[in-house]
């Protein structure tokens, strides 16, 4: 649905977006990650046709955003950063206005407005002027305007920014529910959100695409991925470390916490060996039972997205 090829954008001499390419199909939720100022919002603004790209090609549903902007825009719903809305209008009037510009009219419009007011939980504030709304309601009002015409493509710039945990949960569920029938791009710097809703992830840093893949694949790139965490009762770290290091395929062992009752240890596998995931935990288990250690907890670390995020986006700065 969304195709971005070799996108470039300069602001003066600063290259804000540097040769970015990706595509999103129907049924996919693309998580767009990156530190502040990495070029996420700029890229989204180019996709939605707000600012022109200097180089590259963007098509939405087959329509080029430069050549056929009105058709391409009509397929999209867009939630800009900071959720702008007309402060002097009431929530209902604002949604009706957006609906009519989206080509939803007559009784259809009334139904559409009612539908989004319900899905975004805006009943309580529907007749209130937008400038009097709290941030959470403002955000949901702007979110409601982006889905009022049930678009095939949804571009969300930080959709859960400023929401409380319950509202975040609701919005994520909403996105997940809609994702089957739509192509969605959402930018965020909350990594748990990616885990919760995204089927694909790209990471952008200084305008450049630095990682691209499935959330699970990216996690594997974490230094801690596939390591085994084992918590043993009534042992000292000093007594067990050499034995754990001796296990075949173990690179190193580190102590996470220790007290008089127990000791928590991380066992890191050698990276060169391919698929260790299940194997290592099993080996650690056998080693522990051979040594008669009392196992309190044993688990394999999947790796963490924030480790990957941090390592990718900070090494590139140098």
């Amino acid at each position: 649905m969304i195709n971005v090829e070799n996108l470039n954008k300069w602001f003066g001499s600063k290259r804000a977006v540097n040769n970015v390419s990706f595509n999103v199909n129907k049924g996919e939720v693309l998580g767009f990650l990156g530190p502040n100022g990495a070029g996420k919002s700029t890229t989204m603004r180019m996709i939605t046709g707000y600012i022109p790209a200097d180089e590259g090609k963007i098509t939405v549903g087959g329509f080029d955003i430069d050549e056929d902007p009105v058709k391409a825009k009509s397929l999209m719903g867009y939630l800009p950063e900071n959720a702008p809305a007309y402060g002097d209008m009431t929530v209902t009037a604002f949604l009706r206005f957006i609906a009519s510009l989206r080509g939803v009219s007559g009784s259809e419009r009334t139904i559409a407005v009612e539908r989004v007011i319900e899905t975004c939980f805006l009943q309580a504030v529907r007749h209130q002027p937008i400038e009097t709304l709290s941030k959470g309601f403002l955000h949901r009002t702007c979110f409601a305007q982006s889905i009022i015409h049930d678009p095939e493509v949804l571009i969300l710039d930080e959709p859960t920014d400023g929401l409380d945990p319950n509202q975040k949960h609701e919005v994520r569920n909403l996105i997940k529910r809609m994702s089957e029938r739509k192509a969605i791009i959402l930018s965020t710097h909350i990594l748990e959100e990616v885990d919760a809703v995204c089927s694909k992830v790209i990471i952008i840093n200084n305008g450049k695409l630095v990682a691209d893949g499935l959330p699970a694949e990216l996690k594997k790139r974490s230094a801690m991925a596939d390591s085994v965490i084992v918590k043993l009762n009534n042992v000292k770290y000093a007594d067990i470390s050499s034995r754990l290091e001796g296990i075949d395929g173990v690179d190193s062992v580190m102590c996470l916490s220790e007290n008089e009752h127990s000791c928590e240890t991380r066992v890191i596998p050698k990276k060169t060996d391919g698929n260790y995931q299940n194997g290592l935990a099993e080996k650690v288990y056998h080693e522990a039972s051979d040594a008669d250690w009392e196992i309190c907890e044993l688990k394999t670390d999947e790796g963490r997205l924030d480790d990957v995020f941090r390592s990718i986006t900070t090494t590139d700065d140098r």
């Binding site: 707000y50 900071n82 702008p84 080509g103 009219s105």
Partner: protein, 248 residues
């Protein structure tokens, strides 16, 4: 295309809604009517003239519009830019022209309403004498054209900045220049050093002679073209500015 009209009318309706939901529209109307009455009767000497016409009424219109119209037009784009709704508007499936026209038409309708609320003047003069109805109608047309020309200009200055005060002052100065362009103090500035065609050019930009013709009841196509070309130029420049400075 029906989409074009429905888009323009949606923007127009929304703008009119914004005018009347805030006190701006009511304050504007009241101030306009009070001032127009004050100028006509106190400064224009409506009764002392002892003539059944509205010359002393129309005389003040450009001066009033000079500072009242920019106060209507200043927020049109500045506010969109400041609050970020410009991004919302220009990612909707409408063209910049549809948005510009929609907003311009809303302003025109509002000014038309204000102008039509001066109808007691017409009734007064009708009651007192036997005025030339055609001339009064032409005067109203001329006054309306001056108002919407100023509206287009303040729309342009509004698109240049996110600060409404700057927008207001620049458009006030531009309107003032248009009013004064033909007056000797301004033309004298050029007479001493510039060739005569420059002086004529500056004088030709003056809005007053084009208004006086209409006040006398003469509809000259040159006057109409003058107003329409100023409006078109301003609206066109607005679209150029909005295209090039969206992100800033």
């Amino acid at each position: 295309m029906s989409g074009t009209f429905s888009n323009i009318s949606a923007v127009t309706k929304k703008e009119l809604y914004s005018y009347f939901v805030s006190p701006v529209a009511y304050v504007f109307m009241i101030i306009f009517l009070i001032l127009i009455g004050f100028f006509t009767f106190m400064l224009g000497g409506f009764f002392q003239r002892n003539e059944a016409n509205l010359d002393s009424f129309f005389l003040w219109h450009p001066w009033l519009y000079m500072f009242l119209v920019p106060s209507v037009g200043m927020r049109v784009w500045s506010e969109e830019r400041r609050s970020g709704t410009l991004e919302l508007l220009f990612t909707l499936p409408i063209t910049a022209w549809q948005a510009i026209l929609g907003k311009f038409i809303a302003g025109c309708l509002f000014l038309l309403l204000c102008l039509s609320l001066t109808f007691p003047m017409v009734l007064t003069v009708k009651h007192l004498g036997d005025p030339d109805t055609g001339a009064i109608l032409c005067g109203y047309i001329g006054s309306f054209l001056v108002a919407i020309t100023f509206l287009a200009i303040s729309g342009l200055t509004s698109s240049l900045t996110r600060n409404q005060v700057i927008s207001f002052i620049i458009s006030l100065v531009l309107c003032l220049l248009l009013i004064l362009a033909g007056w000797p103090p301004i033309t004298d500035l050029f007479v001493k050093w510039a060739p005569i065609w420059v002086v004529d050019l500056v004088a030709a930009f003056s809005i007053i002679p084009h208004f006086e013709g209409l006040q006398r009841g003469v509809i000259d196509s040159r006057d109409i073209i003058y107003y329409l070309s100023l409006i078109f130029f301003s609206l066109f420049s607005t679209s150029v500015v909005l295209h090039s400075r969206k992100a800033s």
